[in-house]
């Protein structure tokens, strides 16, 4: 059953860049650095569409590159962290450029038992003030050694993005696609 959270927009079929990963090929620890390499590649690729011909344009190019690098890295870190091990499924990231929006989509498998807590977290992200949630999470993290949970909050609070999710089912597990739209 398909479930949508937030203002999810299906990716169109226009020009886009897609990278697919086969997470079972290497342990998470060994391929962790590939998240950063892939994110920087996407950021470098998109920067060609924003030529830095003068100081103002160059500043804008740097800003867009920096933002895509952060967002893509966070999306990939999450996708790799939560995808189901040995499920023989791929993790993918896709990037689209429209007139004034860059959109990124990651798709990964997720353990069915992780779906409910994740959706509860999503509901808070979509209904509460991201600035207040951000501060609350930093204070909570200081008292714990758990996962930071700061990735989506930083995208919302610091980068002003719109985030939405689509959940579906595959043969054995659930599948989630996360959409992030960045105004440029």
């Amino acid at each position: 059953m398909k479930q949508i959270f937030g203002s999810y927009i299906e990716p169109d079929s226009g020009e886009h860049l897609k990278i697919s990963f086969y997470p079972d090929a290497l342990p998470l620890q060994q391929r962790w650095r590939n998240n950063g390499l892939s994110a920087d590649f996407l950021a470098g690729y998109i920067s060609s569409f924003f030529p830095g011909e003068d100081p103002i344009a160059s500043g804008r190019q740097n800003e867009i590159k920096d933002a895509v690098s952060f967002i893509a890295n966070e999306l990939l870190e999450n996708a790799m962290k939560y995808c189901v091990e040995n499920a023989n499924t791929t993790v993918s990231i896709e990037m689209f450029l429209e007139a004034d929006v860059i959109s990124l989509y990651t798709t990964n498998s997720i353990n069915t038992s992780d779906v409910e807590p994740f959706q509860q977290h999503i509901k808070r992200l979509l209904t509460e003030d991201p600035g207040d949630l951000y501060m609350e999470q930093l204070e909570t993290n200081a008292e714990s050694d758990g996962d930071s949970g700061m990735g989506y909050l930083t995208m919302l609070n610091d980068y002003g993005t719109a985030i939405a999710w689509r959940f579906g089912e595959s043969t054995d597990n659930s599948v989630v696609t996360t959409m992030v739209r960045l105004n440029v």
Partner: protein, 114 residues
């Protein structure tokens, strides 16, 4: 105290009470950040009157790294012994966007993004 890695360097220069972070922090979760956090907390626990965190050459910080830096800021707040200055750079736009949040945790925090 110093950590040198292919992707980043962290060192605390006690003579000038300055922690210098360079490179890219893309570590995985709280545990991997522990050695870096230890240097930062060690500097706070020395309770210098003024303490500088120089991130001008820190190109990248993931969200786990944001959490790690917030623990440093909260430790400063807890001790209440040091005036902290963060030195950043406009060359890395994330710094202007994300570092300012720490001023909500510690209103006395000084920041120079040059």
């Amino acid at each position: 105290m110093e950590i040198t890695h292919d992707d980043y360097q962290v060192r605390f220069d006690e003579e000038i009470s300055t922690i210098i972070c360079e490179g890219s922090f893309r570590l995985r979760g709280t545990q991997e950040y522990q050695p870096i956090l230890s240097i930062l907390l060690g500097a706070v626990d020395a309770k210098p009157e003024r303490l500088t965190l120089d991130v001008r050459e820190l190109q990248f910080l993931n969200s786990s790294g944001i959490t790690m830096l917030s623990k440093f800021i909260l430790q400063v707040r807890k001790h209440g012994a040091s005036q902290v200055l963060i030195l950043g750079s406009k060359n890395y736009p994330w710094q202007g966007k994300s570092l300012k949040n720490f001023q909500r945790l510690l209103p006395a925090l000084e920041m120079e993004i040059g």
